[in-house]
Symmetry: C2
Subunit: 489 residues, 2 copies
């Protein structure tokens, strides 16, 4: 019988330990405090998560027109529909409704609508120059869900290790905890523009194996989150050779492939590099690549659309992934249509092309300018150094915290970067994520912001940051810019 | 190094065993065969899954208008918008856009939009007569995802047991396998209109415990899937007392609460009965209740909207559930708006009320007629007996298979009900799910169909079924209706 001090199954103490172990900083202590402050009436600038529309980015018009029409198919018979929707949006809505029998209200196949998966395959072929098979492409409720599905299939116990870049996007650490696996961190080299050091990675794998961990997969995030670096073709080639030699699945998180802010290293997919390498690597390395409608110049986070493509996975495994996807029936159908539209946008000559091109160009160019404003702003601050955001949506400055700040944090029972970020939040309303949420080398401190606040607000935000940082450094590093009390990099 | 017979991490043999153990019949062998036949050009009637729009049910107009406008907020500034959208849909779209800063393209809070959770809480209070706290309501991508989140929190190892009704909806068996728990079946009594036999359930729990299983939770599906029964208040009261005595979480799957086809036992929520009971039960039993936009007269399966409400869960547990929900950032936002609309539909006096009321009444009344047509149709067939579909969307007839059919199935290497359903599919195009996918007593055979085919097609479907069944019984039970060769119930 319940009561009298007997614990109940959903009491905290009785929960699945893997659930309790999960840490997820993007919506962690800083986010919760920011939400409280917002409730109290403080103006908060939420730069904790890559959520462009929440910070005022307008949706692209054409895809929204198409999905609105798919939601309201009865409009297609309305004689006035042409007054407020362009003809190519109407035609495209009819196209998707023909691909999705039952429309947006019907479950699709659990892998996604076949016709949309075909559009994704055609996009991949155009992008990479190699054919892609729609049967190996599964649509998902955003990329995160796809990553979780794959990690769930890979992880058998806490003896299974997943190589994850550090700093990393905490989806990976959280999902690995949830599925009871072991995260094997490989450090990105901040001094080398967040590059990979393969000698180091090899050493990491050797050490993990000596502890009885079976290292089974490697995650790359390209462009990097939170680090913003774009991988060169050579690096990806080396990565794939490494995965080949070490028998690792490569999980390629390529959700920021449209978000590139430099011209030296345009995005190149792991899949293209793999096929360029030829056999045996191209036939042997198991690769799963992830994409989404949440990023790029789309930023349609709330729609939850994404896909993953499986390369060199045996058919029986592909079937198992299908079976597990079936449990929750199907990814949301509007999100699938957004995915179709993203990979198959208006073409030159289409009625909506000029508008679509202008809107997307404006967003991308503004993001590029914001990447510069933010990097430069951070580098202008005392005790702050920051690599340029080559891609993705984040800036990840290192804050060289004075020893007295570290001591003060310790007295307050906080990690030093959490302490700094909380003070930043209280002083300025800027809601960031402490570097410890992503992982960082011992004694080195960072924070992550997105580059997403409106461009016109950016100078004020950076100056507000600088003012806070100056006063923080004055308080804890009162000797004025001398190097002796810095924590070491 | 890979190759040369070395297994790779995503080879079938190397996958997580829990993934491989999952069985999911709703999209299993029958569904796959039906999909093949459809590709070959055969007309298939998909009654394998409760997917109303896929079988021609039209969406309700008002909610689609509102969500279309939310997708295309720029229409709200278009002077022609009033030509194709009614004023109350426009007002409601503005309302939801005011609740969701950033609109449908922004991630919401991982628990869902606060304003929508408030609407859900108000709906629950109106329905049950007891206040409901929005902070204990989490929105989800359909009810299935919510069920999975809760089972994941509850199950710690294969020593943890979950009581599941048999026949059951295979979401439960599949998710319990995936999370590595143990399903403890309790049998519904077909002769007692799929009722619960508590002496039996108690015995089941005792036996499970004697095998070292910690029984931690109990699932009810009310109205039942696949069995269609509606639980009486007395039964739910007995259930809750049982959970209280045995220290079980009650997971109340109430997704069919709008789908009621008799008047004797209207839907009553487990939560209302719990609070009616008063302390100590009302303060002690941990209850999680699930709802969705996929069922009812909405049938908006593809939108993936749902919620769960937590009763008597401690705050620390509620926080843990929040943390895990955060990993995938947020449920899809359009699905959240549908949930808001479902719990807060047009009211008498609103411009769209008459249309909304007429549409929903027509769907519900037709479903009621179809429930009768189907039950009667099955009961008119030789060796078939079927309880009336009191609620939900399914018919679950028992097929008394002749011994020769069972033998023929065995020779073909098939379960006897799978054998029957495959032959039905090949002969008629009717795609059902064999009873073994839901669980049934040893030696008793069923199939599940939905009652969702269009009403005007129903007589032809039932006559096609009868013709097939007659010929099947002629073939395997050639002595003509005698009882001696039946399998026993």
């Amino acid at each position: 019988m319940v009561g009298g001090g007997v614990r109940k199954p959903l009491d905290y103490e009785e929960l699945n330990e893997n659930v309790k172990k999960v840490q997820y900083a993007v919506r962690g202590e800083l986010y919760l405090r920011a939400s409280e402050l917002q409730k109290e009436g403080k103006k908060i600038i939420f730069t904790n998560v890559g959520n462009p529309h929440a910070l005022g980015q307008k949706p692209l018009t054409f895809p929204r027109q198409v999905v609105a029409l798919c939601q309201a198919p009865f409009l297609l018979d309305d004689p006035n529909v042409g007054l407020i929707f362009p003809a190519d949006a109407i035609a495209r809505a009819k196209h998707y409704l023909s691909l999705a029998p039952g429309g947006l209200g019907a479950y699709s196949d659990s892998r996604g609508i076949p016709g949309v998966r075909k559009e994704v395959a055609e996009f991949i072929q155009r992008r990479d120059g190699y054919p892609s098979d729609p049967e190996l492409i599964y649509l998902t409720d955003g990329a995160s869900k796809g990553v979780m599905q794959m990690l769930n299939a890979i992880i058998r116990s806490d003896r299974d290790g997943i190589l994850v870049p550090v700093p990393q996007y905490p989806l990976y650490s959280a999902a690995i905890s949830l599925f009871g696996g072991s995260l094997v961190p490989y450090y990105l080299e901040e001094e080398a523009n967040w590059g990979l050091d393969f000698a180091n990675i090899r050493q990491t794998v050797t050490e993990a194996r000596s502890k009885g961990i079976t290292v089974r997969a490697m995650v790359i995030i390209n462009p990097g989150n939170p680090t913003g670096q774009c991988l060169s073709e050579g690096t990806i080639r080396e990565l794939l050779s490494f995965c080949y030699r070490e028998n690792l699945v490569l999980l390629a998180d390529e959700v920021y492939q449209q978000n590139i802010y430099q011209d030296e290293r345009p995005f190149i997919s792991a899949r293209k590099v793999l096929f360029d390498m030829g056999p045996p690597t191209s036939r042997e390395v198991q690769l799963v690549s992830f994409h989404t409608v949440s990023k790029g110049y789309w930023g349609e986070c709330g729609q939850r659309g994404g896909y993953f493509e499986m390369t060199n996975l045996p058919p029986k495994t592909v079937d198992e992934i299908y079976k597990v996807a079936s449990i929750a029936l199907s990814p949301n159908v509007p999100g699938q249509i957004f995915m179709g539209l993203m990979v198959n946008p208006p073409k030159p000559g289409d009625i909506s092309y000029m508008k679509y091109a202008a809107e997307s160009k404006a967003i991308l160019e503004s993001l590029r300018r914001r990447a510069h404003i933010m990097t430069d702003g951070f580098n202008n601050c005392r005790n702050v150094v920051c690599n340029f955001t080559e891609g993705a949506m984040y800036s990840f400055p290192q804050i060289r915290l004075p020893q007295r700040a570290i001591d003060a944090a310790q007295s307050a029972g906080k990690a030093a970067d959490v302490f700094y970020c909380l003070k930043l939040l209280e002083a300025t309303g800027i809601s960031t994520v402490p570097g410890s949420g992503f992982g960082q080398k011992e004694g080195v401190f960072h924070l992550r912001t997105t580059i997403l606040p409106a461009e016109e607000d950016m100078p004020a935000i950076m100056s507000s940051f600088k003012k806070f940082n100056d006063s923080f450094m004055d308080q804890y590093d009162g000797y004025g810019g001398g190097g002796s009390s810095y924590s070491r990099m």
